[in-house]
């Protein structure tokens, strides 16, 4: 009965992606993509290590550490209030639904191009994510000890003695893992001008300096690959203090307070309302017309393109994940194959999808194709890697088949529910990323946000960003509903929950 539901669901997604593919613009418009590709490969094979900007690496780590640190602290405090106040849950949802890049574009208007913008662009959405994840971990914890505490124990004591010790280990693992995501986020922030590794990478790729880009990217992979070595509980205090001291100087954007006041009371107030005559009907009809124009000319086409891009990418991700996961399963590729597959998938998943799309855009020319490939490959590697871990955690019977038979008859059917759980969870993430990719020129919601900001029409940008939040919210609700209907709502969806090696 479940199998049918699994099969039907997959089929519907496949069908929707095919329909989207029919309407999507996926042409290769570059005149000579192979020549450029050849230069890229040549550059990767001969990385120019001497050109590495050491400070950009330091600042990348500093932004990530401080941003994730503040985000985790704020998220922890929010998590305590999370189950009790709907307002906290809603604000956490809004905070995390707005991508780092959108936060950065807004924050630059207030804080200028400086450390505060970089740190907050990470800290704010991460606080929303941490609040939700920490709250879930607290909820899932074994609370037997709390029930036997003596009556009259204060809430804080109860929390510190009976709950915190149960969840501290998971908090620690998750926070340190998030640091990896934070490093990827700083890269994206480089694209808006903060002096991280991403800033230099953008320049190198734009100028076709592939040898320099390869060296810098190599450093980035090493940073992520060795994260477990340098980011551990004992080093966290040093990392935090060092990062705070080493954060770069900002490019001043005038008085922060004045900027903030202007931004909140003028810039993001819808233009028809700025006159302030809220009693007059004319104001409100002007507002309605203003809103309607944005919805018709920007929100709807932007949302449509976002969904089209996301749907194709999601199904591409699913197919890739199913093809790739055997590479990291010892049961399927053996003791020798597995480590090689693991390196491949870790490298691919460490490559930020935004940068991958940017590179492909240079190679293939503007269309939806670079974004589709980037999203499918990056997310496919993530899900494939996780599935491989699940594949090795299964109990196989002594007379289990081998090779492709094992894959098709045993492993994949048994993991299919888990596969759908991961895929449906990533659905919302992919939609959010699809919106962002608009900044690269695909006409998704981010394209219109970027355009509005460069015209200094922040009121329009805010409406569009909220529309993005709305679309993500709808997809998230749909994903949850599907996971409930498929009876897989309790399966792992987060990286930190996958079985360990």
């Amino acid at each position: 009965m479940n199998r049918l539901a699994f099969g039907n669901t997959s089929l519907w997604f496949l069908l929707s992606a095919l329909l989207c593919l029919a309407v999507a613009d996926i042409a290769v418009t570059a005149l000579n993509p192979w020549a450029e590709m050849l230069r890229l490969v040549r550059g990767i094979l001969r990385p120019d290590i001497l050109s590495i900007e050491a400070w950009s690496v330091v600042w990348t780590v500093a932004f990530a550490v401080v941003g994730v640190g503040i985000g985790a602290t704020a998220g922890f405090l929010l998590a305590i209030a999370f189950p009790h106040f709907a307002a906290v849950r809603v604000s956490a949802m809004v905070l995390r639904s707005i991508h780092e890049l959108f936060w950065a574009l807004l924050l630059i208007q207030v804080f200028g191009l400086g450390p505060t913008t970089g740190v907050l662009a990470i800290a704010i959405p991460y606080a929303g994510i941490f609040a939700k994840v920490f709250a879930e971990m607290i909820e899932e914890a074994d609370l037997a000890a709390e029930r036997v505490l003596p009556d009259g124990t204060s809430a804080i004591s109860a929390f510190a003695f009976a709950r915190l010790p149960e969840v501290a280990e998971r908090f620690k693992t998750y926070t340190l893992y998030r640091l990896e995501c934070g490093l990827r986020s700083t890269l994206v922030l480089g694209f808006v001008g903060l002096p991280t590794v991403g800033f230099h990478l953008e320049g190198y790729f734009k100028q076709g300096k592939y040898a320099e880009a390869a060296a810098l990217l190599g450093v980035f992979y090493v940073l992520i690959g060795t994260r477990r070595l340098w980011a551990r509980p004992a080093t966290v205090p040093f990392l935090l203090v060092g990062s705070l001291l080493l954060l770069p100087e900002g490019i001043g954007g005038g008085s922060t307070l004045a900027n903030l006041a202007r931004f909140v009371t003028h810039d993001i107030v819808p233009a028809p309302l700025r006159a302030g005559d809220f009693g007059s009907l004319a104001t409100w009809s002007a507002f309605a017309g203003w809103l309607q124009a944005i919805v018709w000319s920007k929100v709807l086409p932007g949302a449509w393109n976002t969904i089209v891009l996301a749907q194709i990418s999601l199904v591409g991700m699913g197919i890739l994940a199913l093809l790739l996961f055997p590479l990291v399963s010892r049961q399927l590729v053996g003791r020798l194959g597995q480590p090689a597959g693991r390196v491949l998938l870790v490298v691919v998943r460490s490559t930020p999808e935004y940068m991958l799309a940017y590179v492909l855009l240079q190679l293939l020319g503007p269309s939806m194709l670079p974004a589709i490939i980037a999203l499918a490959v990056h997310n496919g590697a993530i899900v494939g890697y996780l599935m491989g871990r699940h594949a090795d955690a299964l109990d196989y019977r002594a007379d289990a088949p081998k090779g492709l038979n094992l894959y098709a008859y045993d492993t994949t059917p048994r993991l299919f529910g888990q596969f759908l759980a991961y895929s449906l969870y990533r659905w919302e993430i992919i939609v959010r990323e699809s919106a962002i990719f608009g900044i690269l020129g695909v006409a998704t919601l981010g394209y219109y946000v970027d355009a509005a900001i460069s015209e200094l029409r922040f009121d329009v940008a805010v409406v569009l960003i909220l529309a993005t939040v709305g679309v993500c919210g709808v997809i998230d609700a749909l994903s949850r509903w599907l996971r409930r209907e498929l009876r897989i709502p309790t399966l792992a969806t987060r990286l930190a929950d996958a079985p360990a090696r």
């Binding site: 479940n2 002594a398 090779g403 098709a408 048994r414």
Partner: protein
Amino acid sequence: MTGDIVFDLKRACAGYNGRPVLFDIDLTVRAGERIAVMGRSGAGKSTLLGLLYAQRPDDVALVPQASALVKPLSVFHNVYMGRLDRHSTAYNLRNLVWPAACKVVEVRGVLKSVGLEGEIFSAAGALSGGQQQRTSVARALYNGRPILIGDEPVSALDRVQGGEVLSLLKSRHQTLVLALHDVNHALEHADRIVVLEHGRKVIDEPASRLSANDLLRFFGGEP
């Protein structure tokens, strides 16, 4: 009626997770024998069956403990899995997506013998525990190799159904080694009974020389 030696253990020892489970087991099994392995849980029955299976995996149809079904797949696919090694992978993949009519007929025949033909296209995970166990038995029957090793193959069935399944297994497989916990089943269906206690063989006699009381004392009065 007995023939060549099919399994031969000499002073075999085995451990599980570094903890010794079996000590100095001598066991010779000849073709045509029907052996019941008995003993309390933890006595080492599953480990002993594992040692035997490892000696000649290519000649054994296995009924593992806990059925070991692929629950999202249909009963048909789970039974068909018993013969994956005898078809090309391409043919297997085709059968996964679109079962061949001739295979459905074959599998339906096997399922009929365990009373499950009505469930052929149900998901294995939707079946009751007893039905899952019968699916696991059907997979071994369909596998059809001459030796059957079963780890508690009828533990989820009532005594009558269990007896029917054991008779069926006897009629289809030449040699049987079965871990059983029901003394009556063992006396009725096996011609030789091996009892393990704390990892050592304490009884190895023809069933005709044993009575229910001889066996019951190893189970602390289990019926």
